[in-house]
Amino acid sequence: MTALTWGLVLAWAILVAYVLSLANRDRHLRREIARLKSMIGE
């Protein structure tokens, strides 16, 4: 693999890692909202 290809792969890896971190935060937020809703319901 040439350095040029490495550049492309690593750049995409960073962007994919960011998307995964966004998805993770989304999951965390949903869990928080569900927890708060159940607290209000009690």
Binding site: G7, L10, I14, V19, D26
Partner: protein, 204 residues
């Protein structure tokens, strides 16, 4: 409806990138991903500046959420551009990091915008946090013209012509679309987080 538009934009971006991938094999197109990545980061910085200015004027927290969203997305794109730039210098000169004007000024820019996100973590009060962050964002943006001037004055070790060929323009369009989608998602998260925090505070 909003989700459908985002999916459609994502589909267009993927098609553009897939169609354009053939240009990668052309040796002339060394910067075919690096320049669009850096361009998307610069557009994000401009959007962050605009959102920060509008926030300072209107005090509407929606614009603060927009500013943090585009800044974070721009930071991810800039990180990808710096790493791609390192690989380009490695490809051209065998050295993976050279303290040349292009890479160094981009790194300084990245650090400035990373400090923006750290600043947000350190201030608790909502309006105060948004105000400090907006002022910092305006200050950080001053570095963007400096990056351009630095590259023009002190020629980087590896010179990638900063012109927009058709392949680079297509990639720029695709990456801007992806960046916009991510910024919308991040903005929604920021607003949900803010609502959640205020709900939590009021319930205490």
């Amino acid at each position: 409806m909003r989700g459908t538009v985002l999916n459609l934009l994502g589909g267009i971006a993927i098609v553009l990138l897939a169609v354009n991938h053939g240009a990668f094999t052309s040796p002339r197109e060394e910067g075919f991903f690096y320049i669009p990545l850096a361009g998307t980061a610069a557009i994000s910085a401009m959007a962050s500046l605009a959102a920060s200015l509008v926030f300072l004027r209107t005090r509407n927290l929606r614009f603060d959420a927009a500013a943090v969203a585009v800044t974070e997305v721009g930071l991810a794109f800039l990180a990808a551009a710096i790493v791609d730039g390192c690989c380009l210098t490695g490809y051209a000169g065998g050295k993976w990091w050279s303290w040349d004007s292009g890479l160094t000024s981009a790194l300084v820019c990245w650090l400035l915008y990373a400090a923006y996100l750290m600043l947000r973590q350190s201030v608790e009060e909502l309006t105060q946090r948004a105000t400090f962050a907006a002022v910092w964002s305006i200050f950080a943006f001053l570095d963007i013209p400096l990056v351009v001037v630095a590259i023009a004055w002190w020629k980087p070790g590896v010179h990638i012509p900063f012109d927009f060929t058709v392949a680079r323009l297509i990639n720029l369009l695709a990456l801007v679309l992806i960046g916009a989608i991510l910024a919308v998602v991040r903005m929604r998260q920021e607003e949900a987080r803010r609502d959640l925090d205020s709900l939590r505070r009021s319930s205490q």
